[in-house]
Amino acid sequence: MPTLPGVHLKDEITKISQRLRELGGAGERRGRSDAWEKVKLARHAERPYTLDYIEQMFPGFIELRGDRCFADDPAIVAGLAAYQGRTLMVIGHQKGRDLSSRTYRNFGMPRPEGYRKAQRLMRLADKFGIPVLTLIDTPGAYPGVAAEERGQGGAIARSLVTMARLGVPTVAIIIGEGGSGGALALALADRVMMLENSIYSVSSPEACASILWKDAAEAELAARALMLTSDDLDELQLVDAVLPEPRGGAHRDHAAAARIVKEALEDSLRELELMHPQERRRERFEKFRRVGVWREDGLTLF
């Protein structure tokens, strides 16, 4: 059974808020006090990116490109990987490391064609029974005029249903910045995991601060409030696992980080591959169906 995100059980009602209050004030909670540190680590310029993991884990990687409609989007890298006697479809956001690669990769911010490439290749993977691994690391979808005109919203939405439909096992790992809808578009998976120092957020702390505090400088405050660290999301039961990083952070040892990701992937596939496609699909729907915390008839359900 997969971990249940935001479990919704009428007969086992626990008040998260109460428990949290017992654990201390908002600022003191486990995971919250160091939120800004985590944001900085998640964005660390030497943190391993998707292509670094690919290099470490999948020597025979063959990149597949293009959405067949408009362009190839270098902000998303995708392709076939030979791995432990099986094939994987690996799809991930790719930030650049130096100035020119950052520009080329658009800082890891996909345009609609990036999501459409991902959808095309997920359908290809599904056709041949190839499990899908997504590596998530983006500030968010690119907020540009032309990207909007080409249907950024619809492209993300269709990524979500494409992932919902897949019969093959899907594993999503947030390796750095899990920024908003641009990240979620690749994360509707059977298993969603976060590296210890990654973040996963409804909005960047800066954007949140400028909207709610009317001051982008309050980003630190926003980072704590948003509950975006791996501990926070583990506590909210919105991820299936948090993967510990090498001492000091993934940027200190790319090879070790890759080994951790690899193990998590293998464990997940070992479980998922024993299930029937319909069973995986059903559990996937159940899992995302249960996401949410609300009150009903005076009770808080989550």
Partner: protein, 318 residues
């Protein structure tokens, strides 16, 4: 055709004692009574002013046919979110100001006698933002549509995900997308109506996953809003950026429907998707004796129409 809405004036402050105010588009003086008569479309410039959820239901639902679903759901505060004010305070204020329980109402209604599941968003409720309750109400509305085989109409107006619920909000995109996928499998027709403004997470989930997407004239429809684009990537916005008309030209919506035609158009499209001519406006099937052939799509269509035209239609058994 002569649908009316009773305008609920929650706008406070700058309007005159008689309730009149200036059209935000053309500046002409607008009188609430006349405006309601014209479905809150400015008679001078055709600007479609925002409708509240109640007004929208009044516009679309046959009189007395609205019945709310999931009414008892209320937001919780799982993150104990506190920015300048606590989340609960903001919710209470929104409830007080709007008389609503959340940014989305879900229910069943009849439209020209056609039974539908109708969800309606209200931008006044915390910017129409999508949190756990919106997602859960949408999911239950879909479940109800699947059980009853009533088509689903979603009228959207949203600023995006509700930040105060953090990742729980973002994941409502995944949740509502899964819901639309379930609808597709049956299939039950699903039409979305995008009204001013629909942005962010709603545009990137159920709003753009409908079988047919309608937009109100002039509505701003985008994922990243104009301000974000200007601030983040310093791009100059073209005239009419993100508006319904631009979306139509760029292939993102099926049609732009003026408000006074919306109900008729919805019924026509839903009826056609149901597999036959089904709207009360053009009951062509009554002129037909019956299916000329035997089985096939035609007979199937007729079967659908019958159950559909019959006001006593009930959920299929089993």
């Amino acid at each position: 055709m002569a649908q009316r809405i009773s305008v609920d004036i929650s706008r406070r402050g700058d309007n005159e004692p008689d309730g009149s105010f200036n059209c935000p588009a053309c500046g002409q003086r607008l009188n609430p009574g006349e405006l309601a008569e014209n479905l809150k479309v400015c008679p001078h410039c055709e600007r479609h002013l925002s409708l509240t959820a109640g007004e929208r239901i009044g516009l679309l639902a046959d009189e007395g046919s609205w019945s709310e679903l999931s009414a008892s759901l209320r937001s919780a505060d799982p993150l104990e979110f506190f920015d300048l004010r606590p989340y609960f305070e903001r919710i209470e204020e929104a409830e007080y100001d709007t008389g609503l329980t959340e940014a989305m109402l879900a229910g069943t209604a009849r439209m020209h006698k056609m039974e539908v599941v109708l969800v309606v968003m209200d931008f006044r409720f915390m910017g129409g933002s999508m949190g756990s309750v919106v997602g859960e109400r949408f999911w239950r509305a879909v479940e109800h549509a699947i059980e009853t085989r009533f088509p689903l109409v979603a009228v959207c107006a949203s600023g995006g995900a509700r930040m105060q619920e953090g990742m729980l909000s973002l994941l409502q995109m995944a949740k509502t997308a899964c819901a639309t996928e379930l609808l597709s499998e049956v299939p039950v027709p699903f039409v979305s109506v995008l009204t001013h403004p629909t942005t962010g997470g709603v545009m990137a989930s159920f709003a753009t996953l409908a079988d047919v997407i309608m937009a109100e004239p002039g509505a701003l429809l985008c994922f990243s809003g104009p301000r974000v684009i200007e601030q983040t990537v310093k791009e100059k916005l073209p005239e009419g950026f993100g508006r319904a008309e631009s979306n139509l030209e760029h292939g993102q919506v099926d049609m732009i429907v003026p408000r006074h035609e919306l109900k008729d158009r919805l019924v026509q499209v839903l009826g056609m998707l149901e597999g036959g001519v089904a709207c009360a406006l053009q009951p062509l099937w009554e002129e037909e004796a019956g299916p000329p052939g035997g089985g096939g799509a035609l007979a199937k269509a007729f079967g659908r129409i019958k159950s559909f035209a019959n006001p006593s239609r009930r959920p299929p058994q089993g």
